[in-house]
């Protein structure tokens, strides 16, 4: 894996960071669902497109930004996750402890 990232990759990372920050602003009980949704969407879409297909990635970035803008609205308090996402989440667990340990 190369250590240098292209500008397009950095844009994807930036969108992913923004999406993860959005998750942290959601109500506590819905956070896991939002997190699963964000992780699943990014991972599955990244796997669905060849890395050299720049115009497809740019299109997905634009679509992702529009979607994220919608989700960033504080009126959005919950989200729906499909069975497929839950299944994927079981196979690809992320972080097990979400809360900050007491210091």
């Amino acid at each position: 894996m190369s250590t240098r990232h292209s500008g397009l990759q950095k844009e994807v990372f930036s969108l992913y960071r923004r999406a993860l920050r959005m998750v942290n602003l959601k109500p506590e009980q819905a956070r896991q669902k939002f997190l699963l949704y964000v992780r699943y969407t990014f991972k599955s879409q990244a796997a669905a497109v060849p890395p050299r297909n720049i115009s497809a990635i740019e299109h997905m970035l634009r679509r992702g930004r529009r979607q994220l803008e919608m989700y960033e609205d504080s009126k959005v308090r919950d989200c729906w996750v499909s069975k497929e996402m839950l299944e994927w989440g079981k196979q690809n667990p992320g972080r097990s402890v979400q809360s900050r340990p007491p210091t």
Partner: protein, 123 residues
């Protein structure tokens, strides 16, 4: 007399600097002063290292056996680039928001520790 001159010269040129540089190969000039200031403010380098490693242990994909400060997220810990973004975001629980340009440069555990160490607001 010449013995005395030799002694004076060896005092005047302490050999500490190169040895410290060997201990901290990634240290920037002025690094030690910064670390000292951070330690006085609250977090010592060891505390930061322990907590960053704890954050990483919380990730299911990370093999604790491979987890060392020098480990690279993608090369040693077997994370993909999106996982690496998640890991760096998790380090933000030190109450700092890492700007994108700097977060893109954090690729190893040590770089994450160093970033928190040089950020005075981290706690």
């Amino acid at each position: 007399m010449s013995f005395l001159r030799l002694a004076v010269r060896s005092v005047a040129r302490p050999r500490v600097a190169p040895r410290l540089a060997a201990t901290f190969p990634h240290a920037r000039p002025g690094f030690l002063q910064v670390a000292g200031y951070a330690a006085a403010a609250g977090l010592s380098k060891e505390q930061i290292a322990t907590r960053v490693l704890d954050v990483l242990k919380g990730f299911e994909k990370v093999d604790p056996a491979k987890l060392t400060p020098s480990a690279s997220f993608t090369d040693d810990l077997g994370l993909d680039s999106l996982d690496a973004v998640e890991v760096v975001m998790a380090v933000e629980e030190f109450s700092v928001e890492i700007p994108d340009a700097e977060a893109d440069e954090i690729k190893t555990v040590q770089q994450a520790i160093d970033y928190i160490a040089k950020t005075p607001d981290a706690h």
